[in-house]
Assembly symmetry: C2
């Protein structure tokens, strides 16, 4: 055990939340718009009113389905070296998705995002050691008709060898993306041996509604053993009570309903206990993604996930700020640490500004450092008799210096996380270097990476097959924005990316 997690709820309170959710499922249930789902619920013992479309749930079915859900969830990348199975010792981190807009890296203006931005993002994420999953962060405004999400998955998969994830609209689109995966893998069989695409879906619309399409996708993914996880994203105070525990009881009921539908569609399908619980700012109705209450909710979500023995996940590190200022910094930094200290297994956090509206490439690099700091925090004190260093302490004695000790030299790059972007110089040096803020340095790092060839891109041969299979598909290459040349390499880049990982 590296850490005893922070917990807001006592064991009894966790049980009470569970019981409250069972009561909601029994007495109120869910409105289920999808007839196939209603029939399936009815077949497994739910009470279904096909006229009102309301489904209510017996507690024993719910608890049986929770039991059937495995305790782990595996996410794979195009390169199997990036595969991982949750829970890990450290939280795993994804970029956030799916913003319509992009902060243009040259002009700094916000504009609609395109497939070119996705290609660059994929290229960039390869090099971000703190980011484990490329959840495709923006939409592609240049998508040809009939290729809406293909125009996102293709540049992402082409450029990024880490796990790639986003949603699809319907079964037809999913089949198109699977065909892309098969083309890359060589065959459908090879693809299904190592699914390097993870699909997302919006599992429930709070309060207590399963819509037609998402519910269709949930069943389709489960029936076909397709790697996918859902997100429940309530608007607290609008679609839930304006209390944290009331919201938790409600969204937990909603998750349990998706758990039932998943398990009765295909027993043993892995799930994440995954939420984006944003409360409304009641002064003006704004969607307060930067609020600390998301972190607090996430902590309780971690406890419920442990109660159900399912990996916990959540959107954290979002900000309402439109620009990469101190607000973006503290809003992005605080909730991921709160989640980390609460034992969250999977954090969706990187790159976005302005709630979920725009992505900034430099912010991806900044958030990468935040992610690495959170991962360092997850590694903890590294207690051992060797690390207690009593002999060294006695030898150094009073007023002695440790800096030249062999033990110190050995630990130089191991004890502390060594950031690449955070400025730690003295003021005079910083001023001499142009008094630049972290965003400027981050943009340098991004420019450095994106003006190098992408060594993780798929082969030309595979790419030719894709181009042949999907006529009219977007170009998909990571090409530096016009006018960009590589800056000099920034201090320390590539030198010491990480604190030694927890075992």
């Amino acid at each position: 055990m590296i850490m005893q997690n922070a917990q807001y709820l006592s064991d009894d309170q966790v049980k009470r939340i569970h019981e409250a959710s069972l009561e909601i499922l029994r007495d109120t249930g869910l409105l289920v718009r999808n007839e196939k789902a209603r029939i399936r619920f009815a077949e497994h013992g739910c009470e279904v009113n096909h006229e009102t479309e309301v489904v209510t749930f017996p507690a024993d079915l719910v608890e049986k389905c929770v039991e059937m859900t495995p305790p782990t969830f595996t996410i794979c990348g195009r390169d199997p070296a990036h595969d991982f199975t949750l829970p890990c010792a450290e939280p795993r981190v994804a970029t956030a998705s799916s913003a319509p807009d992009m902060v243009d890296p040259v002009s700094g203006e916000t504009r609609r995002a395109t497939s070119h931005d996705i290609a660059r993002l994929g290229h960039l994420v390869n090099e971000m050691d703190g980011i484990d999953v490329f959840s495709i962060s923006v939409l592609a405004d240049d998508a040809p008709e009939g290729q809406f999400n293909l125009s996102r998955f293709y540049p992402a998969l082409k450029n990024c060898s880490k796990p790639v994830r986003t949603s699809v609209l319907d079964v037809e689109e999913c089949e198109q993306i699977l065909k892309l995966g098969e083309t890359i893998a060589g065959s459908r069989e090879d693809y299904f041996k190592h699914q390097f695409i993870t699909f997302g879906y919006c599992a429930v619309v709070s309060p207590l509604t399963m819509d037609y399409d998402s519910t269709d996708m949930l069943m389709y993914f489960a029936e076909n053993d397709i790697t996918a996880y859902g997100t429940i994203a309530p608007v607290g105070g609008a679609g839930t009570p304006l209390t944290l525990v009331g919201t938790l009881a409600l969204i937990n009921a909603e998750w349990l309903a998706t758990c039932v539908l998943t398990q009765i569609s295909k027993a043993g399908r892995p799930m994440l206990y995954n939420f984006l619980p944003v409360f409304t700012d009641m002064r003006d109705g704004s969607y307060a993604t930067g609020a600390i209450e998301i972190g607090i909710m996430n902590s309780a979500i971690c406890q419920m996930a442990r109660f159900y023995d399912v990996p916990s996940a959540g959107y954290l590190g979002l900000t309402n700020s439109k620009t990469s200022d101190a607000q973006a910094g503290y809003e992005k930094g605080m909730s991921p640490i709160l989640g980390t200290m609460s034992g969250v297994n999977y954090i969706v956090m990187g790159g976005l500004l302005d709630a979920l509206m725009s992505l900034d490439l430099a912010q991806v690099a900044i958030d990468n450092e935040i992610a690495l700091m959170a991962k360092r925090a997850a590694c903890g004190m590294e207690f051992s008799e060797e690390n207690l260093a009593l002999d060294e302490i006695k030898k150094a004695g009073h007023g002695g210096m440790y800096i030249g000790n062999p033990e110190t030299l050995k630990r130089m790059t191991k004890t502390c996380f060594l950031p690449e972007l955070a400025d730690r110089t003295i003021r005079e040096v910083w001023e001499m270097q142009g008094s630049r803020d972290v965003h400027a340095r981050a943009l340098d790092q991004v420019r450095f990476i994106l003006t190098q060839p992408n060594k993780y891109a798929i082969s030309a041969e595979t790419d030719a097959k894709i181009k042949a299979a999907f006529p009219g598909i977007v170009a998909g290459d990571s090409v530096p924005p016009e006018g960009w040349i590589a800056p000099e390499q920034t201090r320390g880049r590539r030198q010491s990316r990480r604190h030694a990982k927890a075992s």
Copy 2:
């Protein structure tokens, strides 16, 4: 119990740290430069070598002195409404100290700080609901000879009715400040009934050295029942081993030594378990105040403090950034939340940039919001049957709206922290308002406050007495910088400062 704190160390590991510290104290001990202290240590059973000035400690004396240390620490303000006794349900927060420089609020340039800046800071801190203590954040470059810290305490106490804290050089200076306190209180007796000044001292110089002056002050404070607490501020990797647990064992030994000296000077004197453990960035020797390892160390410090049943405290929320950028934001936001989730009782954090080198008034206002977010996190889920809101959930049913519910209206300002500075508007509104960052908005807030009269200033009558008692003393008034006029009141200021407090 609001929260079960995050803990990196098991109970056995905490005990092992304690034992390791006892072993260090027994085998290596401390170099004690102050003869009076050495004699006192010898009188109470320590082994003292007056030639080498080394003092070693028997374990039973150390443990007896820990036992004698009370579990609480009271900090008072000029207005008793601001008094508090640690530990409280939420962490209490102080501004950080004592920077030599100031970001000029008009020019934005960094310059030497003066007593005028301290007066403004005192005025500002009154209005910062998240900040409980004004630890005098800067030095006074305009101090007349013989009034170095008087030129800091006077403008601070004159303008701020909250607890005021900083260090003094020696006993003589302390007597000068006490005389100031007595003049404000009316008499020495009245002052000592309600000590609204808290003194600080640097308890130990790591590794394992008690210097002359600080040790003198420690004994003087204890003997005279003067409210004071020490800080141990090691430079990790230079003055301590480059491991977290080794550093912890060492600084814990140092704290135990100060505990012994305090308790044998005056049994039962309250103490804080208070540290600023900064590790060196081994790439260039920089003093990495913004590093996440300070937060991790603080978490372990909270555990040791609970083991000794003494309130925990620490410097958190510092940054190496020279400017209020995203780095300042995440470095300032992450460690205070880490500490909060670990149960820290007292956080010294507000206002500084550039390690401990400069203070920015707008940053005080930003850090106030960070402090309020941390305090909100300390309040947790607020579990109750009423907050579970089951009736409301059943009534709203599927797809219903909670926004107009009487319960929602009742909780509008209670459930979530409502920030004043964080932007939550939509992009179009933000652009219409000038695309300003949080620092610009914070500076507006500061300007608004500092261009109003300070209603918490001491009376003209008392001030006349002070002026008479200390010839040549600085002016001490909070006067707006030249050219400042009040901006329009910013949205929400004064409207809803706080989330409802934890009981």
